[in-house]
Each structure stands twice: as structure tokens, then as C-alpha cells.
Assembly symmetry: D2
Homo-oligomer: 348 residues x 4
């Protein structure tokens, strides 16, 4: 039985605490938050669990095997590093850290220590997205042409981090997962209206090897709540609408094929044949993605496995975020994405 | 009574012919198409109208005061130029021409000749978009933050022109109309899957003076037909869904405001207050945009007025298209938009 | 080549005229309407077709083999009878007539004369409904439990006939077609608000042999245009939404089964097992129902076949309408539906 | 501070328990369920609250001022009667009881004892329905013509009570609330497919004084979850869709008016003028209806007020249910609704 301490009782932490508490394969051993009132409010729901305002208590506790970190992004590197150094397995909220050297640092440290390091890219544990992934195999989808996602709403305006770093990690991890590789280049543009220098809306274009394109639109000032990913293949097209009541995943038997015009492709003449057949809404056996994520973390600890969203995966997402941020600053200039070469571990 | 000749019986021409025929203020005098079969098929519906396969016949005819041109984009400059030179008023389909010098050439020529030159930016004559424009006044919308449009479908794949030049002129003319000025910079990215070098999907970001941002997504390989424009202001937000059965225009009483935190804006601390009130779907008295466009053309001739979508407007749209095309070729590199200085007329 | 005269240029007639005109297998020979202005307006679109304000001209014409009647319901019996007596095949708009004896009269007369008599129950020629029918086979749908339809809108308020006789013939013919037999009993309730005694809204319940139930809701004062039929079976459920952009027919792999509780059905204890699987939107190759209907009429004439919506079918629908009307007058009292025994022909 | 005991930990009870627990104006003093396992499972979430499997304990407890009863309908009369006799205020789930004499009995007893008797007609405490009620005033809606509701789903199949008694109490209480009076007559038809004599689908027509009509469709075997009420007035029409993400209440500025044709209403000639204006989606400040209901119960106790859904209201709903049940048994025969004359109290 893995004993878990959860750090951070803000917006997302309580969801992690609830799931860790409900899982059979682990014990919620400790809850930590620097704000005593917030700690007390959350802790009241879990009588018998140790509460502390000191992260050092968690690190020092012999009753904690693993730590789940749900604190602001800028603290991820230091706290995750300290927890790994203290011999704890770590599940840290996305993004893994705020720079790729920080990420590489944590990856090295986890490796040295022989500990599990996992990032909370929740969608990789979402049954609907797993269905989309399964349906995106080439023998079914045909060639993957492009995909785009749209994640907008009114609200959750952040004051310390822009919409790129706050919202887009979801879409980047989804795109990397569905395409199956990292992009070569990123172009992004953003605009800020509410705060100085904090982009409220960001558009990102990803160029993958082989010509696959990904596009992402995130915003926290939009009239209509939308969470949607569209995947366009040569044989099938898929829409994954996270907010749909019925049919979160819609598979369209639609496509275009180039056919030679008449006798043969002479004179460079081509025509296009469209097909537009049935639409299929596969039944998704929905389970809470966060519960699946937490269970996966515990299983990786118990069975000594590498998580789907391991440190490398977290690094790739941060590399895309970094390139996008630079591109925004250069008004859309396309930026290469650093390939994730690991550095030797340096002192955190 | 203005006597009109329509040139081109392809995809769009028949719609123009029908509207010209039905208007009270003009006479459909002549129909021209190089393909005799297509000409006969369309002509059959309008007994008594002169049919010709020769554009020269139209130019020479003393029974034609104005010409409506619905031929491929690459022919617009030459045919419009010839018609103006022959003393005919011209309504030409979008885009006005395929380069901005060509556009400037036509503008100069029309001016010299004292003739009406108008481009078929249909949405500027669409009652729903006019409603959106009216609702976008600052005293109602607040500050205009950004707007984005999404015009995708499966079909109408072109083989000689990409999705940028084929579809985006609509969205560019809409954006320029709603923002009320031309963008300073354009960044665009596209990808082709069906034909070599003919982009099937294009994403465009427009940067307007003062920080207003516009974003456009066009594609002809998409599972779901969508024609939607979203306008985000500080006080109101508007969605114009051209395909909605009910409520093509939805006005959201939604917004975010920065408020100082507590006593005053000391320590640079701010908070955001969201408001999310009623949604209103104003009744649109819908009339066919193309009928309105044709009527406007005739009125400009009769009353010697400048069309809303005059040559200058057509030039601005082409300047944005050119900048976007260059940006696509440079993988998203932001491009300045040439300001539309008019050149003296040169021989076409 | 069958030569057709169409009688009636009101709301629906022009649609019939257009389809008869466009079909290859027949000639539009004559158009008749008592109102000379309306006749001229419609006739203008079909140069060369004989126009007349006299129905007698149509009856007397040697150039007319078949007559299509789109006049008010109360005239159907007399005009159809006269046309049959004059040796013309007849396609008459629904309802066949306004009483079942009138229907029987026409059936007998057509039989005596050896002519085709067909009623315009358009939905029986609608590809979407034919798909629903095909999917309603017991080996796929399981037991048919019940079906209901909802056909409401704001508009087309009639002043001489209520919503039952004006709108419900569609739904009754659909229900009879899908269930495959006539109902035993009908209960209906209606209410009038605009005119005295002309029901604006009507609810009808049909009881079929074997317990299948049908329910119909029609109204011409409703906020939201709806045309929807739901079919509930033990293995599958189907929604046919005539106004859906995408997926007019949705097939739900849903059902409930009674299972014995535990070891066996002892103590009369049962439980229900629900299944809720995929949803499927079959591609409908849509063609205009009215074109199919007209083509079927011509084929029945040429090949001496009995129409799907023949006189008997028209009679069954009228018998249900009569029973529903009586039930409305008795405030919902259930009424038996007369079985359609044919009477010997009497003088019209 | 009112001390409350909640009886019944089945489907609905836990929601009541949670709300009673969270309210500031009362204390959750006791939880009772005959099934010790179910009791323990629910009780675990409320440490410190007394748990008991004996209803008598609740009745005898000096620490309980009021009882909330969420047990099967057939037990409502006996348990509510015993609680009132023991001096406890009672909030009982709908329906108040299963016969109108039982209801009258409870009303008399509550009166004798001077205690609050309230029925859980939740929708009367739903902010969206209260908005609909407010918008249904004659000066805004015009004449109320008719209303209909549609409450269907797949699931919650009951084995001891039909869809009428299980689902329709919601719709009946809504209809009575919006119309503002009880219906004079009820006609209903139902059909059973899963169990013998337990109707799975029921259609109900209510006739109110003055000609207002109400129609209700309930079912637990339907492909598509729907909870919708439509109100049709002469000036406005309203759709309340309980499952809508955006715009639960839609107000249509639509209507039909009879106007005299031309100079005057001579010859009995009339025409209808339709208007179809804006659609408005008022912002609903949504709060949990059940929380509002529980708070209202406590307030009525503290302030000695009559609840909105008092015993009389509960009786009216049961009278409609009884009439509907009789009508179902007589295949739709219209049934008068007993007027709610109170009987002297008899021994429970």
C-alpha cells in the first residue's frame, strides 16, 4: 500500500486529494498547504489524515512514500527536486517545470534515485481521448493530415501565467499523443487585454515531421465554453467534444481522394473524389480521468513501470511551450523545438 | 434602367444571373460563357436574353451598360480592365485581382473612366453581418479585443487556387469591416495534402493597429461544415453563426474587468471581475445578401455613389492575401501589410 | 410518355408542377387554377404549357392522361371523382377526401375504371423514412414498443381546417407505415385559441393491435419548428429528425431487458438490465421526396402497378382522422377505428 | 436551530441529507434507514450524526424537531402520519401519499397538531422555473394558451410504481404552478412493455378552466434524455430546457393574432398576423433547488409560515394522478378531477 502526501489545496489539489483518498491501492497519509485556513477547510473532509503547513514535514515523514504536487508552476522544479532528493516518488501537476533545463534536471534526478517521476497530463488518462487515439491508427484513419483544438471559456483568468502556460499544456500533450511524435517547429501569436504582458488568447501552430500540422486556440475571454479536438485523416475524420452530452467522440466516414482524370494522370490533371458516409458515435465507458491518472501513478510505483506521462513527456511539452513563448515574443516567427537531449544532473 | 451583361456561368455565376434577372432596377441583357453547353443550359432559364460565347461581344454591345464578372480569379484583372476600357461599370467577383498592382491598375482605370468598380464581398451586404457591425460599436461592445472566424467544410476543393485565396477573402473582408481598418501585420501557416503546393488548410493571424487581433481558419477538408465569426469585446461578446437555424447572431452580455484589489491598486495587485448576464438573439430580417449586393451595384451606377466594397476595399483584401501568402511560404513569418498607395494607371 | 395536368397553384401545387416538369418520364401538359392571376404567375415559369382556369378543360382535354390535384381538402372527392370518371389517372394531395365513404367511393370508381388512384402521402417516398422503416425490422429493432411524433411550428395557420386534418395526415401515414397496420383505437384532444372550433393544437394517441402505441403532437402555434419521429424498440431506438443538418436518422443501440433476479424468477422478482451502446447516424442518400412520389405515380401508370399510397392507404388515414375528430369532440373518449370495408360505388 | 432527522437512504435520501447537513439554519440530528449497510455507507460521510435502523427511534427522539421522509411512496401516509402524531414537522418526498383520502388525512392531522407539512415538489424551488413563472404573467405572456412537458430518459425503471406516479408528479406540479389552478379534467393513456401492469410510458392531457390545456409525456424507455417544458402564450412563448448548458430558459417574442380582413370583420373573414421577433435567454442565478426547498421548510417552521408546496398542493397533485390513473385504466376516457374538499381527520 503506497502512502501518499498531497501538497497544495488550491484549485486543483482538492480533486487530487479526493481521488487519492478513494483509491484502494494507496493511502492518503498527509495533506500540506502553506495557508492554514485553506488546509483546515479541505482537511475537515478527511478526518484522520495528517495536516501540515510545512512542506519539510512531508519530506521528512517516514509515513509518506510518494508526493503529489499541485502548487503553482514556478514552484514545480524546486519542490519536485526536493521530494525526489528525499526519496519520494512524485506526481506533479502540468507543466513539469517552467524551463526545459529544469525538466532535464528532474528527469536526471529521478533516474539517479530510481524513483517514479510523472506529470499530470490528465487527458492521456481520459477514456474519450484513448478512444480517439485508437481510432487514429493509419489502417482506420488513413493518413493523418492535421488536427486542431479549441479550448476557450470565460473565466479562470490567471495573473501570474498566460493562457499559453495555463491552458495549452492540455492541447500540446494531446497533440503529441495523437501524432505520436514531437513537432519540429512552432509558431504562435498571442494578445493581452486584461493585464500587461499576460496573454489572454493564444494561437499556436505546430509543424510535425512529415507535414502533419497541429493548431491550438486557447483563451480565457470567450463567450462560449468549448473543449474540442478535430482530427482530419484521409479516410476518416474525428471530432472529440469534451462537453458533449451525447457522442463525445464522433467518427465521420469522410475523406477526399485524388483520382486521375480519365485515362491517366497525363497533363498533370487530377480530380478529387469526396466520400461522405455514416457518422458513428462510439460508446465511451467513461471513468474519471484523474482517478485513472492517480491509479497509474501508484501502479508505476508498485510495478516499477515508466508512466505514460513521464518526465520525458513532460519535457517535450515544456519544449513546445518554450518555443511557442519565444514565437509569441517575436510576433509569430516560427521557432524550432529543441530536441530533448538530457543533461547531467546539476544541483537543484 | 441599367442593362447588365453577366460573364461566367460556373459555380457562382448562375446566382448572380438569377439576382440580376429578378431585380426591378436593372435588365439582364446578356449572358456570356466560353463553354457553349454551359451557356445553353443556364440560358434556357432566361428566354429572351442574348447569349454569347465571346466576351468581345459583351464589350462591343451597345445594349450593355454594366458587366458582372464571375470568372476564375486569374482572369479578373484582364477582363475587368477591358470592360472598364470599353466604358462599362463592373462588379467583379472576389478577389478583385491576384496582385495588388493589378488592383491599383483597375482602381486608376475606373477613376479615369468615371465608372463604378465594385468587388463581390458578399458578406458586407449580409443583414446578419450588418447587425453584428451595429452591435460592435464601442458604446455597446466596449473595447474590441479580438475576433476570429472559422470557415471549413468538406468539398469545393480547388485545383488552381489554395484555400487562402478561395475561402479567406470572405473572412478578411469581414474582419476589415468589423475592425474598421486594415491590419498592420499578417502571419499565416498552411498545409497541403491533396495537391502539391495548393494549401488545403490555412490559419491566418491579423494584427491591427492598437492591438486588436484577428484569426482566421479556413479549410476544405473538415468533417463539419462551419461558418462562424466570434467577436470579443470588453462589455459584450458576439457569435455570428451563418448556419444556425435559430439565432444566427447571439449577443452575450459577458465580459471581464480589471478591478483594483481592496483599497487601491497598490503593490500592483489586481483582480478580475467577470460578468455573465443574459444572452440575446436579435431577430434578423434576412434578405438574400447577393440580391442586396447587386442592388447596391445598380444604385451606385444610378446615383453615382462609391460602393461599400469598392476597388480600394478590394485592394486592401488582396494586400492581406498577398502578405498571408508570403507568410505561408516563410512558415509563419509575420509580414507587414502594404499600405494601399495608388499608382498611376499603366496599360493593362 | 404520360401527359399530366396539374390542378391548383396554391401553397403546394407549384412544388408538384416543378417536379412534374422536371421528370423525364412525363410531360407537364396543362396547369389549372381558378384564380387567373395566380395561374399566370406560376405559368410564366413554364412557357409552352397550356394554362386554364377551368377544371372542365382539363377533364375534356385529349392531351391529358393523368391529373394531379392540389386543391383544398373539401374539393378532393368531387374533383378526383370527376377526373376518374373522365378516364384520367389521379394523384391527389392528402387527405384523399374528408370522409371515409367518400374515400371508398373513389376507390371503387378507380377500380371500375381501371385507373391509378394515388394519395400524396409524401413521407412514404422520403429516403430518410424508408431508412427508418428498414431499421425497424424486428431482427434489428427487437419488439416495437411505441413511437411518437412531434410536428409543430409557428405559422401556416388554416382557417377552414384544423391542425388535425392539416398536419396530422403526415404523422398518421408515417405511423401506419412504420407499424405496418392500422390502429384499433384512437384517442385525441385538441384546443382552439385563434378561431372558434378550429383546433390549433392536437394530441393523438393510437392503439395498435398487440399493444404498440403511437402518439402524435401537432400544432401551428409553437415557438420552435420541430419535425421529429421517435421509434422505441426493445433492442434499438431511432430518432428521425427531419430538420437535422447532420444525422437526420440516429440509431441508438439502447434497450432494457427484464432479467430474472439471481437464481431464477422465483417470488416474481425481476430486475432490468439496461444497455446503452453506440449511436449510429447512417448516411441518407437524400433525394426530393416529392420527385420520388411523382415518379412513382408515373411508374404505376406505365407499369400498371398499385401505388404504395393507394386509395386504401388514403382511406385508412382518413378513418384514423375521423376517429380522432370524434374523440376530440368527446374530449378524449377513445374511439374504435372503422375497418376499411369497401362499399359498392355510388354516384359521386 | 431546527434539528432534523432524515429517513431513507435510497436514491434520493442522500441528496436531502447532504443539503440538510450543509444548511446553516438547521442541524442534521439523525439518519434512519432500515438497511444497516446502506445506513452505514451514507452515515460514514457525516461523522457525529446519530444513525438508526428504527423509525421509532426517530419518533421518540427528543433531539429531533422535524423529519424529512424519503421512503417509497406507499409508506408516505403511515410514516408521515406517525411523525406528525409524534409532534414532528414533516417534509415528505412526492407524492404526498398514494390516495387523496390519505392526503386529506395528513392535512387534517398537521392542522390539528399545528405542524408544518410540506411535500418535496422540488421544481417549485427551482430558480429557472421561478423565472418561467415570472415571465408567464399575462401582461408579458399575453393569454396563456397551452403548455406541454416532456420528461423522458432510459433508466430508473421502477418495479412497484408506474411512470405516471414516478415521474409525472414533477410535471403535474409544474403545470399547476404555472397555470395557477387545478385542472378540471384529465385524460391519460399509458402502455407497459417491461412489466405487467406497470406503465413505462404515459401521455396525459389536462384541461384547465377557461380552456388552457396541458400535456405531459413521461417515459423511462426513451433514447434521448429530455426534460423540457414549453409554454405558449398569445404574445410570448417560453421553452424551459432543464438540461441546456446555455439558456435553460428561452423566451420567444412570437405570437399569432387574429386581425380582421380589410375594412372590417364582415362576412366572418379573418386573417392571422404572425410576429416572430427576438429570442431572449435571461441569465438564471442558479442555486440548487433542493437546497432552496430544504431552506424553505426550515423557514416555514421557524416563521410559522405555510409552505409553497404544502399539504393542499400535495393533495391537488395526487388528485390529478388518481384521475390520470383511472383514465389510463379506461383507455383515455376523460376523468373529472375531484375538488380538494378536506375531510375531518380520521385515525391514521
Amino acid at each position: 500500500m503506497v502512502r501518499v502526501g498531497v501538497v497544495g489545496c488550491g484549485y486543483w489539489g482538492p480533486n487530487l486529494i479526493r481521488n487519492i483518498y478513494q483509491l484502494d491501492c494507496c493511502d492518503l497519509a498527509m495533506i500540506c498547504d502553506a495557508d492554514p485556513q485553506r488546509l483546515a477547510r479541505v482537511g475537515k473532509l478527511y478526518p484522520g489524515v495528517t495536516l501540515t503547513t510545512s512542506f519539510q514535514d512531508v519530506l521528512d515523514s517516514g509515513a509518506v512514500d510518494a508526493v503529489v504536487i499541485a502548487t503553482p508552476a514556478r514552484t514545480h522544479h524546486a519542490m519536485t527536486g526536493q521530494a525526489l532528493a528525499a526519496g519520494k516518488h512524485v506526481l506533479v501537476e502540468k507543466p513539469l517545470a517552467v524551463t526545459s533545463p529544469q525538466c532535464q534536471d528532474l528527469i536526471s534526478l529521478a533516474k539517479q534515485q530510481g524513483l517514479v517521476l510523472m506529470v499530470g497530463h490528465t487527458f492521456l488518462y481520459n477514456p474519450a481521448l484513448l478512444m480517439v487515439k485508437e481510432l487514429s491508427q493509419p489502417e482506420y484513419l488513413g493518413d493523418l493530415f492535421y488536427l486542431y483544438s479549441h479550448r476557450v471559456n470565460l473565466g479562470r483568468v490567471q495573473t501570474d501565467v498566460n493562457a499559453l502556460w495555463s491552458i495549452a499544456p492540455h492541447d500540446i500533450s494531446i497533440a503529441l499523443f495523437l501524432v505520436g511524435q514531437a513537432p519540429e517547429k512552432v509558431s504562435a501569436q498571442g494578445a493581452y487585454y486584461l493585464s500587461n504582458q499576460i496573454e489572454d488568447v493564444v494561437f499556436i501552430t505546430l509543424t510535425f515531421p512529415g507535414g502533419v500540422m497541429g493548431h491550438i486556440h486557447v483563451s480565457w475571454i470567450d463567450p462560449s465554453k468549448t473543449r474540442k479536438v478535430t482530427v482530419v485523416g484521409s479516410e476518416k475524420m474525428i471530432i472529440y467534444d469534451d462537453l458533449a452530452d451525447e457522442g463525445m467522440v464522433k467518427v465521420y466516414d469522410k475523406g477526399v481522394k485524388r483520382v486521375s482524370n480519365g485515362e491517366g494522370p497525363q497533363y498533370g490533371e487530377f480530380q478529387y473524389r469526396l466520400h461522405s458516409g455514416d457518422v458513428h458515435l462510439p460508446r465511451i465507458r467513461m471513468t474519471e480521468p484523474l482517478a485513472n491518472e492517480c491509479r497509474h501513478f501508484i501502479e508505476c510505483i508498485l510495478e516499477n513501470k515508466t508512466p505514460t506521462s513521464d518526465g520525458e513527456n513532460g519535457l517535450q511539452v515544456v519544449q513546445v511551450l518554450e518555443a511557442a513563448q519565444r514565437s509569441i515574443e517575436l510576433q509569430g516567427m516560427p521557432m524550432p523545438v529543441a530536441s530533448g537531449q538530457l543533461q547531467p544532473h546539476t544541483v537543484a
